[in-house]
């Protein structure tokens, strides 16, 4: 092998650099986010697993139904009526954007633009209601 003296140390340095990021944070356990669930409610509009995975799809379906098809009637789940609305529906129970939406979104590093237009409930008001 030619240039053994440079190639082998070079490879070692390269592999070391590549693995550095993995090794540096490797052992640490990252806590899964714990979004605060609303008090006094046992279930959401859909099963929990569906909500975890596909709430964004549901929001899109609601949006199209409400705006385009004019189907604004609230939906009934387990005897409770829910408004098909992010602002007036979801956030009616999930009273804190910070403690619910943001916990997972920040963990997953997704930044949806819902709140560029939609108005999040006031945090202090929500806190007061929760108490």
């Amino acid at each position: 092998m030619y240039n053994k003296g440079t190639i082998i140390p070079g490879l070692i340095i390269f592999v070391g650099l590549m693995l550095f990021a993995v090794l540096w944070d490797g052992g640490e356990k990252v806590e899964a986010p714990k979004p605060e669930k609303p008090v006094g409610y046992k279930e959401c509009v859909k099963p929990l697993q569906y909500m975890k995975e596909s709430h964004m799809e549901l929001l899109n379906v609601w949006r199209d139904e409400v705006i385009r098809e004019g189907k604004r009637e609230p939906i009934e789940v387990g005897g409770v009526m829910y408004e098909k609305s992010l602002q007036n529906g979801c956030m009616h129970c999930h009273t804190s954007k910070k403690k619910f939406c943001d916990t997972c979104h920040e963990y997953a590093s997704v930044y949806p633009y819902c709140w560029d237009c939609h108005v999040a409930p006031q945090e202090d008001v929500a806190l007061k209601e929760a108490r």
Partner: protein, 283 residues
């Protein structure tokens, strides 16, 4: 083979003409056939599909919401117009940028010359009409040019004849603003949530309705969300018992609007453009 240059060019020319001409001739024949067959039966379905796009004729069936505005009552009741504007703009989080150029308006006032350009006479000037201010809003046309102009279908006509905006979908190209002959659409040049000199553009954000973001067009929605719940639009509600604004289904001959339209002489804004506006004025 005694192929001369002359012969080659002849053949090349003929095949070129045949190559270009044949497909279009074939197409023409095909089209004629389709037209002939569709006249027999399937044409009705086609026109229906077009009607659904909200581009052509007036909706003969279903609901078609409209409004009659009594300009005289507004003229005689000072402060009423402001009350209507406030009711609308405060609910829908309409920002006030404090600058006429960036103005966002869902419902606003204009004198006769601006509201009905071309309708005034050179010879006889009706002092009273020219002193009046007219309440203007989106006309919710039956043939809305904004809907045709919108490249993303962010604006569309819903089943009740209301021209709706889907703010999620608006890319801010402003084609609709150019298409609208009534100036009923406004563009958010700035972030409506911002402020200038410590004064927020939206005085008090209504938590029931979203704001808009920068780069989105907005306009009156005929209070679609209230109408669906059987309520009157906010401006109509604000006029109270004065009956300065009457809202209802134009297709229902027994509705209050239809009755008023039958009994009174009304004018529309720029009817000659063929947009078929749904807002009528008593002057």
């Amino acid at each position: 083979m005694d192929s001369s240059r002359r012969k080659f060019l002849k053949i090349a020319g003929i095949s070129a003409v045949a190559g270009i001409g044949a497909p279009s001739a074939l197409n023409m024949l095909m089209k004629n056939e389709v037209r002939a067959s569709s006249e027999g039966g399937g044409h009705g379905a086609q026109t229906d599909a077009h009607g659904g796009e909200g581009a052509h004729a007036a909706a003969p069936v279903g609901k078609r919401y409209g409004m009659v505005i009594d300009a005289v009552k507004f003229h005689d009741t000072p402060g009423l117009a402001e009350k209507c504007i406030e009711a609308c703009h405060s609910y829908f989080n309409v920002p006030n940028f404090g600058n006429k150029k960036d103005e966002i308006k869902w419902i606003w006032q204009m004198p006769f010359t601006n509201a009905f350009p071309g309708d005034e006479s050179h010879y006889k000037k009706d002092e009273r009409t020219h002193a009046m201010q007219f309440m203007l809003l989106c006309n919710h046309c039956d043939n809305p040019p904004c809907v045709r102009a919108c490249p993303t279908k962010a604006t569309f006509k819903n089943a009740d004849g209301i021209v709706m905006m889907d703010f999620h979908r608006c890319i801010g190209c402003r084609f609709c603003m150019a298409a609208c002959p009534y100036g009923a659409r406004s563009f958010n040049w700035r972030d409506p949530r911002g402020s200038k000199d410590g004064v927020p553009f939206i005085k008090k954000i209504n938590p029931e309705f979203p704001t808009r973001m920068r780069g989105v067009v907005e306009k009156c929605s005929f209070c679609d969300l209230r109408v669906k719940r059987g309520l009157q639009p906010l401006c109509v509600e604000a006029t109270g018992d004065t009956k300065a604004m009457v809202f209802g289904d134009l297709n229902d001959p027994n509705s209050e609007v239809s009755q008023v339209l039958k009994a009174r002489f009304t004018i529309q804004r720029k009817p000659s453009l063929g947009t078929m506006p749904s807002v009528f004025y008593i002057i």
